[in-house]
């Protein structure tokens, strides 16, 4: 932010500054709101709304202060006058605004306005009076001294200093209802902050060196090749991106009509055309879609290789399942798919089979990874292309539904009731889910804990 402000004050390229007249006093180096906006728009090629937003932020962080109406920090794109805050008062100097200073400021204001402070200021004044009662004489004396010194300055300077101070305190002690811009998230330790835990000791560097050595050995792809892949991916998926191409029948968020979700539910009897098209993009897309996977399983049954997909699913369950179930699952998979003479024996090459059988002696969740990958590649290179060329898939494409676009409502102010849907937490445990069905709760409506 300071970079912006400094460049704004640059005498040659900065904002147009001149001595302005404010009522009867002349204030040097003041700028109008309009000038600020124009300069921001011009320098950063941004829109008016954005320039206003940026200017307001600068104001709220205390880098500019208004000369008229100093009660609120709002940038007005007209002839309202502003000045740049001196670096002494910049928030980044992080000088804590002490209670004593605030007390002196409030006391001064009290005296000057004969007790007509804003409500929150009165409250603070009372609080501080109680808290630093022992120093109150000092506070009042300081306040009187400062007021007296101020009277001896020129009217222009007095006005400027008053506005400066006012803005400073608006930033550091915001009135109720205005969020403070100085709020920060909990502190993030850096390496220097926590020596004991984070010291860059030998282990850290050794790990880094190892990681670098491994990275040097990686095979890399030319930029042109990998960047082309993005273009292809984006183009391919563009019609499927609701934000970019809209969705049929309509985007539920815009029209309050959730037919789109009903038609694209995970297990729907009639998938839409876009959905069926996606199965042809990659094997992963086909497997991720429950409907697609079911159709693929049907296809494999016809080809008598359904055990491949079942094996792959069982391995996935092992990998992502709970730690306690690992031994039992490994055993079950072995009995069903890998043991010689098993009911659904899968065809894995001998090398992988040997390695897997050896690993099975000490089962852990990744023991079937090699076999799983082999079967996955087998299906991807062999069964998947055949599926895409099969009559079954072609029939699916032909039968797939293209939902009609929702007709625009004639009376847009008639509210369509937004239907609520049952929470997944209520549904009975499905094949892949693992949650217990909660007894007798309301059917997924306005529940409240």
């Amino acid at each position: 932010m300071e970079r912006v402000v400094v460049s704004m004050q640059d005498p040659d390229h900065g904002v147009n500054m001149r001595s302005q007249r404010l009522l009867i006093t002349v204030v040097p180096h003041a700028v109008t709101g309009n000038d600020i906006m124009e300069w921001l728009i011009h320098k950063y090629c941004i829109s008016e709304e954005e320039a206003l937003h940026l200017g307001t932020l600068l104001l709220r962080h205390g880098y500019l202060y208004p000369l008229q109406d100093p009660g609120s920090l709002v940038l007005r794109p007209d002839e309202t006058l502003y000045r740049f805050q001196t670096p002494y008062f910049w928030t980044s100097t992080l000088w804590p605004a002490s209670e004593l200073d605030y007390a002196i400021y409030l006391a001064k204001k009290n005296i000057r306005k004969h007790g007509a402070l804003a409500d929150h200021e009165k409250e603070h004044h009372g609080q501080l009076h109680r808290k630093i009662n022992h120093m109150w004489d000092l506070v009042v004396m300081q306040a009187r001294e400062q007021l007296r010194a101020a009277k001896q300055r020129r009217k222009g300077d007095r006005l400027v200093v008053a506005c400066q101070e006012q803005t400073y305190w608006l930033v550091h002690r915001p009135p109720p209802g205005v969020p403070s811009v100085l709020e920060q998230a909990p502190e993030r330790g850096s390496c220097t902050a926590r020596r004991v835990l984070m010291t860059k000791n030998a282990d850290f560097y050794k790990r880094e060196i190892e990681c670098c050595r491994r990275a040097l050995g990686r095979t890399r792809v030319k930029s042109s090749v990998s960047l082309e892949a993005y273009l292809k991916f984006s183009n391919q998926h563009r019609p499927h991106d609701p934000i970019m191409s809209g969705c049929l029948p309509s985007n539920p968020w815009i029209t309050d009509d959730d037919t789109y979700w009903a038609m694209n539910a995970p297990r729907v009897a009639e998938p839409t055309q876009l959905r069926v098209e996606r199965w042809a993009f990659s094997f992963q897309e086909l497997l991720q879609d429950p409907v697609g996977r079911a159709h693929f399983m049907d296809f494999l049954r016809k080809e008598f290789s359904a055990e491949n997909l079942s094996f792959w699913e069982a391995c996935k369950e092992l990998r992502h399942g709970g730690q306690a179930q690992v031994p039992a699952l490994v055993d079950a998979v072995y009995q069903q798919f890998l043991a010689p003479g098993a009911a659904r024996w899968v065809n894995i090459d001998s090398q992988t089979m040997e390695r897997t059988l050896e690993g099975l002696r000490r089962p852990h969740r990744y023991v079937l990874d090699a076999a799983q990958l082999h079967i996955y590649m087998l299906m991807k290179k062999d069964s998947y292309p055949r599926f895409l060329k099969s009559d079954m898939y072609k029939a699916l494409l032909a039968e797939a539904v293209i939902p009609p676009e929702t007709k625009r409502r004639v009376f847009p102010f008639m509210w369509k009731p937004r239907r609520s849907s049952p929470s997944p937490a209520l549904l009975p445990a499905s094949a892949s889910g693992d949650c217990a069905a909660a007894p007798g709760g309301p059917g997924g409506g306005p529940g409240e804990a």
Partner: protein
């Protein structure tokens, strides 16, 4: 040599200095001792070989990094915006706030979508975690955590549970129940234990495993049922702030970003760092994979977002503008990967064209900094949470 684990589970008197401190197990010549962290540190630096000093290790690391950069640059023959010249430019985008979710009494810090595309879970500074049906804007569940600043929350893939954590250094899993007689807090399961705040958590492909990132500089993979640590990931030199899982079926990798300006890609199975990228100039607040899994984007306090390609092993695009001077707190891609939505600390959301590198539009609406942003699972909308106590769904 010494085998340091970063998890502390014993408090007592150190075997070396005999002071009452938090201890960790340390192996010295196959004998297990319990040292306090300071003595452990001293032992680590003592245990170097004579011809290795800390400085020489550091310089070796630096030189290797330099060589790595050279290797990466060799295969770099074209820039992304050059390749993208063939693509047509995007027209004007009109996105408006379609839903505003009010109900949090304090800053919203994190949110996540459920797989049913309409429910979300959000967490805030005062310890409240709320599950909403954002389509109807009804609140369905609410839990109060015993700590403030709940910086991480996640929805389980089955939709039956949520996980959250923050300054309590733990990640807790709450099964969702509609039973009026049950208190949700009673069924809470404490899964992860770190030595510093929890900054991000995510379920891996099932309800059974959780991946967490913490301010103690490590990420960890946990088994939900038993709370057992399955794998830990060391390598960041400072707090880890964010993580994201790769969308691939075959691989199991994830990316994490931290205060040490590094984004690291890890192999979940071995716990090793596969790739590391260090081009940001400040803390990385958020990382997100490109939908194809071949790249990821990161948003940082240096007011830029960057795209890193995993196959070419380098940074390929920077999304920045001179008028953007506040840091990006969270990023996410649209479904096709053409748009990158980024929420910033100057209360706005900028929409970037990923391929061309230019900004498509800027969205105003929040009255305080945008802390979290996620695109819905089917890409119909995205939700942003902010320090102004509200969440907004944009479409």
């Amino acid at each position: 040599m010494c085998d340091q684990t970063f998890l502390v589970n014993v408090f007592g008197s150190c075997d070396k200095c005999f002071k009452q401190r938090a201890l960790r197990p340390v192996f010295k010549k196959s004998q297990q001792l319990s040292y306090c962290s300071i003595c452990a540190e001293i032992m680590a630096t003592d245990g170097l070989h004579e011809n290795e000093t800390l400085a020489s290790l550091k310089s070796e690391a630096e030189s290797l990094k330099g060589k790595l950069e050279e290797e990466r640059a060799k295969l770099h023959d074209v820039e992304l915006h050059q390749v993208a010249e063939r693509v047509e430019a995007l027209g004007q985008f009109v996105m408006k706030t379609r839903r505003t979710l009010k109900g949090h009494g304090n800053k919203v810090l994190c949110m996540d979508w459920c797989k049913d595309k309409r429910r979300i879970v959000s967490s805030s500074q005062d310890g409240k975690v709320i599950v909403w049906d954002s389509f109807t804007t009804n609140k369905e569940h609410a839990v109060t955590m015993p700590c403030t600043w709940v910086m991480a929350c996640a929805y389980a893939p089955s939709g039956c549970a949520i996980a959250c954590g923050g300054l309590d250094n733990k990640c807790s899993v709450y099964p969702l129940t509609f039973d009026k007689n049950e208190n949700m807090a009673a069924k809470k399961k404490s899964v992860a234990m770190h030595t510093n705040y929890l900054s991000a958590c995510s379920f891996t492909n099932s309800d059974m495993q959780i991946l967490t990132a913490s301010g103690d500089g490590t990420c960890a993979l946990w088994d939900v049922e038993s709370g057992q640590l399955l794998q830990s990931f060391h390598g960041h030199g400072a707090d880890v702030l964010c993580l994201d899982l790769a969308p691939s079926e075959t691989g199991n990798t994830f990316v994490s970003g931290g205060c040490d300006k590094k984004a690291m890609v890890w192999d979940m199975r071995s716990g090793q760092c596969v790739q590391a990228f260090e081009t940001h100039e400040s803390d990385i607040n958020s990382v997100r994979y490109y939908p194809s899994g071949d790249a990821f984007a990161s948003g940082s306090d240096d007011a830029t977002c960057r795209l890193y390609d995993l196959r070419a092993d380098r940074e390929v695009a920077i999304y920045s503008k001179e008028s953007i001077i506040f840091g990006a707190s969270s990023v996410d891609f649209s479904l096709s990967g053409r748009l990158l939505f980024a929420g910033y600390n100057d209360y706005t959301i900028n929409v970037w064209d990923v391929l061309k590198g230019s900004r498509v539009s800027i969205l105003f609406g929040h009255e305080n900094r945008v802390s979290t942003l996620r695109v819905s699972p089917d890409g119909t909308a995205f939700c942003s949470g902010s320090w102004d106590h509200t969440l907004r769904v944009w479409a």
